[in-house]
Every structure is written in C-alpha cells, then in structure tokens.
C-alpha cells in the first residue's frame, strides 16, 4: 500500500494533503468505489430481518460489480451489525458517516434503529434508505430519509378495507409490546374510523410472553366482537393464533404483515388455517397472475436468493433489494454520488417496480407506495391463497 501511495502522490502532487486518507482504503488502479453503508440487525431479536437483508445486499452488490458496477464505478458495501440495539445503531451510523465516509446508507432493519440514525444523517446530509416499517420514519417527511417497506398504516387500511368487505365492523385488537406492534396498534386506532370500524377491545401482551389465553379469554367474553386483529411481530402472533384455536374462538382472525412468512404457518400449524393477513407480492410470487407488473421482479429475486442461500426468501430481504436498487437507480440518474443530487434523484423516483410494489416518490412521500402494493392473503391447507380484492 505504501508503494501505491507514493506513486499516487508523485503523480498528483496537488492532492498530497488528503491522499493519505484515501489511498489507505482504495486500490490505486481502480476508480474510487461507491460506498454503500448499512447498519442491520443481523443478530439479536430482529435477526430474522437483518440476516436476509445482509445476504441480499451482499449478493446483489457482488452481481452488480461483476457486471461492471454503476456508472463505471464498483460498489463497496460497509455493513455493521447493530444487534437490534438503537444505541449501537447510532454509534455505527456515526462510524459510517465519519470514518467510512459512505455515499448513501441502506438500513436499519427496525424502526428503533432507524430513528436513532435519523438525526445523524439529517445533520451530515447523507441520504438514508430505511428498511423498517413504521410510518414515523417518513412522516413528517425528513429531507434525507427514505424507506422501502410498506407502513403499518397501510397494513391497517388494507385489513380494515377487507373487513368492511366482509361486513365486520366490531373489532378487537390484541397487540404485542414491541416497537412494531405498538406503532401498528396506534395507526390502526387512528384509521379505524375511516373504514367504519369500531375497536371494542384492546388487549396487549409482553415481548417474551408464552401464553395469551388470558387476554383472548377477555376478548372472548366481550360481546359483539366480529373479528380480531393481532398487531404483532415475531413469535407472539403464532402463539396468539394457537391460543385462539385452543379457546375455540371462531370469529375471523387477522394478522399483520409483520408475520407474513412461511415461518408463521410453520409455527402456528393447523391453527393458522383461515387467518388473513396483508403481505407483499414477493410472498406469493408463484401464484401471482402473469399480468401482474411485479411478477418478473419478485420471481427473479426469489429465484436468485433461494438458489444462493438455500433458504426461503422473506419479504425483509426484499426490502433490502428495493433499498439497494433504489439507491443504484438514483446514483445512475444523478450521474454520480454528489449527495444533494443523489437525494433529489431518490425523491424523483417514479415507476420503479420493486418487491414491495410500484414506487412513486415525491417531496411529500418518501416511501411512494399505495395500497395496491399489499395483497390480502388467507392461509389455506398450509399455504397462502390470494383473497379476491373487495372494492375500496
């Protein structure tokens, strides 16, 4: 490395002042790579998010580089594992911004880790594409912050629209104690009125709870409940579903997009039959009609991911795919990595078709998805089927 540095210095005398810092990380022959930073929850309680996200980023950056990179420059991924801890996420974001000097950040995996990074990227004026769900990330709109997944509010709206179609208006909520769960509960309470839905019961359970029969018994004892909605994430919803069956509750049960994975059916087993939930197209790539605009994208991603990692694709990895592709697309349109131009290019993304849906960003909408991005699914015979959309 020292030799290379010397060569560089002798060639570019004018650049002496800062060449030391640069030549430490860059091979002299290549053009400087585009640095994509990421802080993901690869271990810890949100590992099921961060793990496929990291794998997805690694796989596609390798592919893009093999195909010659973006605007003639290679991509370089700098990824840190925050373990789902917001404090660590803040530290790693600082490191990405100050030491690694990344051009754009893709991450965090959770709403908590993302929100910890938001003030830092806003101050440093570096674009961030979050892979987390909650609506607070992009509402109010923050100049440098974007996100790829659907919001929990959209999930609530999709569910309530489906309930309205089935004439179910008295709904009981049961929610977990996690950030995702609480945020979704709040959003559902907010938009319920818009769909003529009355929330007649509102129960909760702890993050590591193993038995929700007490809460469900209370719901069972509440007259007039026509449907139950579980705002939850992780193992909780699977236990709720099993307990629901155990108690002999027969009203329709809705789960959130947070558990939209085969894992949920595996955990809840037979009890999952008949459960409805909103999910991204990726989950049902195989059964989407050929006419679906997203079909080619989601089928290709699913095939690539499953071939390389020999494990089922998850929507969370898809969020990382969208985050990376949105960034790459914006870099191309901005013609480089000037941060302000990159940000403007991200904001003017239109008609990008990703795993989450069709993305149309604007200065007021840093997510760019609408309700058509969600598909309403029902568990039948241990698999998913598409529910026929009811008129909005």
């Amino acid at each position: 490395m020292a030799v290379i540095c010397k060569a560089r210095v002798s060639m570019l005398v004018a650049a002496i002042a800062f060449s030391g810092a640069i030549c430490a990380v860059v091979p002299a022959s290549a053009q400087e790579p585009i640095r994509i930073g990421a802080f993901l929850s690869v271990t810890g309680p949100a590992a099921f998010l961060g793990d496929p996200e990291q794998k997805t980023l690694e796989m596609y950056i390798e592919r893009i580089n093999a195909a010659g990179g973006v605007t003639g420059r290679k991509l370089q991924l700098v990824v840190y594992d925050d373990g789902g801890d917001a404090d660590k996420a803040r530290t790693f974001t600082k490191r990405l911004l100050e030491q690694d000097k990344v051009d754009i950040i893709v991450g965090g995996s959770t709403t908590g880790t993302t929100m910890a990074a938001v003030p830092l990227v806003e101050q440093a004026q570096v674009p961030l594409v979050s892979l987390a769900g909650a609506v607070v990330i992009v509402e109010p709109t923050k100049k440098w912050v974007f996100k790829t997944p659907h919001t929990d509010r959209m999930a609530c709206e999709k569910i309530f629209a489906d309930m309205r179609g089935r004439k179910l208006t008295k709904v009981a909520l049961i929610s977990g104690a996690g950030g995702f769960d609480k945020s979704m509960r709040g959003e559902c309470l907010k938009v319920a009125g818009k769909y003529g839905v009355d929330i007649v019961a509102d129960e909760s359970y702890g993050a590591a709870d193993t038995d929700m029969t007490a809460q469900l018994t209370k719901i069972k004892g509440t007259p007039s409940v026509q449907a139950v909605l579980n705002c939850g994430f992780g193992q909780g919803p699977a236990i709720v579903t099993k307990n629901y069956k155990q108690l002999g509750l027969t009203t329709p049960l809705y789960q959130s997009h947070g558990v939209a994975s085969k894992e949920f059916i595996k955990l809840a087993g037979d009890a999952a039959e008949g459960v409805r939930l909103p999910a991204a197209a990726l989950l049902v790539a195989d059964i989407l009609p050929e006419s679906d605009a997203q079909k080619p994208v989601v089928v290709a991603y699913k095939r690539d991911y499953e071939a390389k990692y020999k494990s089922d694709v998850s929507t969370f990895g898809g969020h990382a795919y969208d985050g990376l592709m949105l960034a790459v697309d914006a870099i191309k349109r901005a013609g480089g990595t000037d941060k302000a131009k990159l940000r403007d290019a991200l904001e003017s993304t239109r008609g990008y078709i990703g795993t989450a849906g069709v993305v149309n960003m604007s200065s007021a909408d840093h997510m760019g998805l609408d309700l058509t991005a969600f598909r309403m699914l029902e568990v039948r015979n241990g698999g998913w089927v598409l529910v026929k959309e009811t008129a909005m």
Binding site: T43, P45, A47, F48, D51, A177, E203, S204, Y205, G206, A208, D209, T210, D211, M212, T213, A214, Q215, T217, K218, G221, G234, Q235, A238, I239, K242, K245, Q246, L247, G248, E263, K266, L267, G269, D270, A271
Partner: protein, 291 residues
Amino acid sequence: MDSQWTQFLAGGLTAGSVYALVALGYSIIFNASRVINFAQGEFVMIGGMSAVSLVATGVPMPIAVAGAVVIASIVGLLLEKLAVERAPRADVVTLIIITIGASIFLRGLAQLVWDKAIHPLPPFSGDRPIAVLGATIVPQSLWVLGAMVVIVAALSWFFGRTLLGKAMLATSHNRLAAQLVGIDVAKVLFASFGLAAALGAIAGVLIAPITFTSYDVGVMLGLKGFAAAILGGLGSFAGAIVGGLVLGLLESLSAGYVSSAYKDVVAFLIMLVVLFFRPRGILGALQSVRV
C-alpha cells in the same frame, strides 16, 4: 365469569409448573454450593432446542425427549467440571459471575450450533383442545402438570431414599459436617449440576410445543424461575414448587383481571417485595445460628 376464572387458572398453572421446574434447578445447585446458577435458563433452552433437532432428524418423540435431557445434563456436568470446579477457592460471588458468563457463552454457542430462528416442537399427544369446567386447555398442558407431579415424587424419593440424594441433602444442611462424616462434597456439587440441568431440560422440552423454542428462550424463563425460587425460598424444594405455581397464577390472573401490559412487572415486583420483606421466601428455612 366462571369460565374465565378457570381459563386463567389453567393458563397460570401450566406456566407455573414450568417456573417451578426451573426454580427446582436453582435450589438444587444453591443447596450444594450456595451458588445461584444463572445458566439455569440455558439448560431449558438446550433441552428444547435439542429435542427439536432430534425430532427433525426423524427420531421418535420419546427418544428425542430422553436424548435432549441427556444432552443438557452433559452440558451441565461439563459446566461444573470445566468452569466451576476450576475455581475451587473462588467465593460465591465469583462463582455466580462464572455462571453468568457461562450462560452468555451457551447462548452464543446455541446460535452457532443451531440458528437464530424460532422452532416449533410437535405436541406429545395432539393439539385438540380439551374442555374442562368451561375452560379449554391443550393436552400439552396436562403433560406439563403431570410431569411436574411425577418429578416431585421422584425427587422426594431420590432425596429421601437414595444415598446420593441423602448426601446432597446433608451437604445442603451443613457442608462441613457432611464432609466430616465422609461425604464427597465435590461429587455432590458435580451431581447437582447434572440434576439441575436435567430438570431444566425437562421443562424446556415440555413447554416447547406450547410456546416454541429458540436460542434466547432461556433468558426470560431463567429469570421467571429465579423469581419463583426467591418467592418460595431459595433452597427449599417445596418452596420452589409453591413459588412457581403462585407466580404463574398471579401472572395469569393479573393479565386477565388487571392489565396484560403489566404481566412481567408483577413477577419482578413480587420478587423485590419478597427480597425486601421476607428474604427467606414463603417456605425458606430460618437462617438461625446455633452455638
């Protein structure tokens, strides 16, 4: 109202039985060494996870359960041999710190050996709910309750009738006197880790079909079991059972009648109250000094 009450009761007793089994593990090791083994929760995890992987390889359920208990016991014995025994002159606090380190190590190891996902275990005898007095319970709950009764009987036979059991009991009452009458207290400590690990593993296997299992399931169960042991009186076997059941019932009833948001708060609040006002727990022995 009545059927709600029985439902809360059923849920509380099931959870309480598991807490009781974990609490028993704490008490056995505490008696042999005055050490609180904070790796007890990890034994629960190892039991559940081992059973899941054995079942996945096609082993029939009873053998998988036995295998999981054996694996956890071996881990428990190794923990004693490789970590605790290596520090013969360490005081109790140091040993406790060793067990905390061991629990973090075991949790990390589990992430590598297995994975970070949540795994289900098929129930022992189907999952068709049974109606009892207006409440519905899954058959697995009966397994949990039944296993606890069997284990209590087996333990009272072990401590009352066998030489090793009596030696362990004698050591718990007076370590020096036990040593003077020729009891090998080192062997007692060794056996106590194996026994505690086996009990933890049984709890882990029994509860996995109801609550699933994962590499970090031991953290919360370990803490709840500890709270149960404190509540009942650390070192008392009857206390561990009573503490576990009371804790499970209080949690379930508070979730049902007060607010489910405070379920965990109740468990740890009880632990603090007991530590402040009755440190020996409900059934703990009075620490009297005889001259």
